[in-house]
Amino acid sequence: MAGHSTYVPKTAVGRWFESRLPIVGLIHSSFVVFPNPRNLNYLWTFGGILAFMLVAQIVTGITLAMHYTPHATMAFGSVEHIMRDVNYGWLIRYLHANGASMFFVAVYVHIFRGMYYGSYKAPREILWILGVIIFLLMMATAFMGYVLPWGQMSYWGATVITNLFSAFPVVGETIVTFLWGGYSVDNPTLNRFFSLHYLLPFMIAGVVVLHIWALHVPGSNNPAGIEKKTDKDTLPFHPYFTVKDALALVVFIMLYCWFVFYTPNFLGHADNYIEANPAVTPAHIVPEWYFLPFYAILRAIPDKLMGVLAMFGSIAVLAFLPWLDTSKVRSGSYRPMFRFFFWLFAVNAVILGWLGAKPADGLYVIASRICTAYYFGYFAILFILGFVEKPSKLPASIAESVLGRQGSAAAVGASAAAEPNTKG
């Protein structure tokens, strides 16, 4: 992507190919010699983890689609067929269902990393907005995937979420009818959701390419939040970051496998093993855990339309974050006041998630309102903080932030190749 290509193929065939399609050189410049800030911590490994999860979902998903039947009378049975009859069907389905959850675990870490270190600030606004778009596409994909097994939660989740659009005046009812392809959630709805559930991951893959392209123009942000200036501030992607990413990925996969093999239904709902019944709503319907904070915001507002707008707004506001945060300093490590509000925001988001799973009455509603107010208030606070906060002193360079003032001077002459092994 960005041109750091020093790549010269070793063989004549390689040179012949490269002069016609310089793709190996593109990979070489993007993922081998690409200069990354030397101070990246493990929070920077989640991008790679996310890429892995997307591929894992596509591979397991396409395999499931070979055995799954997208029809209202057969979908539930075909999922049971996958679980009981298909060789390793249980494994592939559990990998896919838990894979969706792990995908969201990774994306939430990734988003909060960006929010803490100010990765959304100039010159990375487009990169950040592309990320918000990926997040939206992921939510749409996961929502429609959850409808496919056609259990009670699938059916009623689909009903409640599609009905959100009925809140819009005048056109609302028509939109909902067009989403359903009928007068209620039914076979046409299931059919189109399957088609779109198959499509969207590939659209995500497309946006991911843009996301990485936009990333490789300025390069990664880093825990110090200052730009790389000299070669001393960076290390080549390979082997330093390939190894770091791989190690984190393996640990992450261990957690993923723990869910798949030891408690595969922990994150799901028992009601989804009951076939969809349009005449009975389960006593306690809740969305998947990764939607809970937004669901809590929806329910916190007593008015239907305002509730829906607040919920969509809570995601849309993220896209404007680069302009809502007025501070020139990127990294939260150098912003004492910001740090307090940031962690409060993080805790607040978790509490919202907890509230989203509780019944919508009494104290829970009041608590949801307070948390919703802070969720939006955070962005207003960020706006003001930029004017009133006094940041602590920034290091002069990335190298200095890692090695200290002495070390950074020493590293110039000393064995620059051996030394980085102690850090990074």
Partner: protein, 174 residues
């Protein structure tokens, strides 16, 4: 730029003409793709009227049935339930509607309403909630014995499907 004459050229004409045809072409190509999302002919045809025999529905019972894929409640109300529904101050309601407007004249005991909560579509539970009409377990909407919204997030009353009495004990929905 200097080479472009102030006079419209043949290229300008072709540009505008092609663009105009293209815009119409795109619009007419998009139309079928939007239209196919609407309920199809088979789904619409399933909206043929259905007859419901009311004789087996005992007082206090709520019958559930489907018309056009939508759930409908047929409720045989008791004298007390009718009285509760009628004695409400209509002006105090969120979606003001008199009980008489929600049933057929002389058939006060029969309430026929759509069975999906007007909030986000869950099925409310019958004979529950503060007004013993319906209670929606999803987000706590409470409906009275006339199917009118009394508490909770739902904005409107349970709507009435089109129906008529074809005999004393039989209704036709649709």
């Amino acid at each position: 730029m200097a080479t472009t004459a102030a006079e419209p050229t043949r290229r300008d004409f072709l540009f505008i003409a092609t663009g105009a045809v293209g815009a119409v072409g795109i619009a007419s190509a998009v139309w079928p793709f939007v239209s196919q999302m609407a309920p199809d002919a088979a789904t619409v045809a399933a909206g043929a009227p259905v007859d419901v025999d009311l004789t087996p529905v005992a007082e206090g019972q709520i019958l559930k049935l489907f018309w056009r894929g939508k759930l409908i409640f047929v409720r045989h109300r008791s004298a007390q339930e009718i009285k509760d529904a009628q004695s409400v101050d209509v002006a105090s309601l969120r979606d003001p509607e008199a009980d008489a407007k929600r049933v057929k004249a002389g058939k006060d005991q029969w309430l026929v309403v759509y069975g999906n909560c007007t909030h986000l579509g869950c099925v409310p539970l019958g004979n529950e909630g503060a007004y013993k009409g319906w209670f929606c377990p999803c987000h706590g909407s409470v409906f009275d014995t006339s199917g009118r919204i009394r508490q909770g997030p739902a904005p409107t009353n349970l709507p009435l499907p089109p129906y008529e009495f074809v005999s004393d004990t039989k209704i036709r929905i649709g």
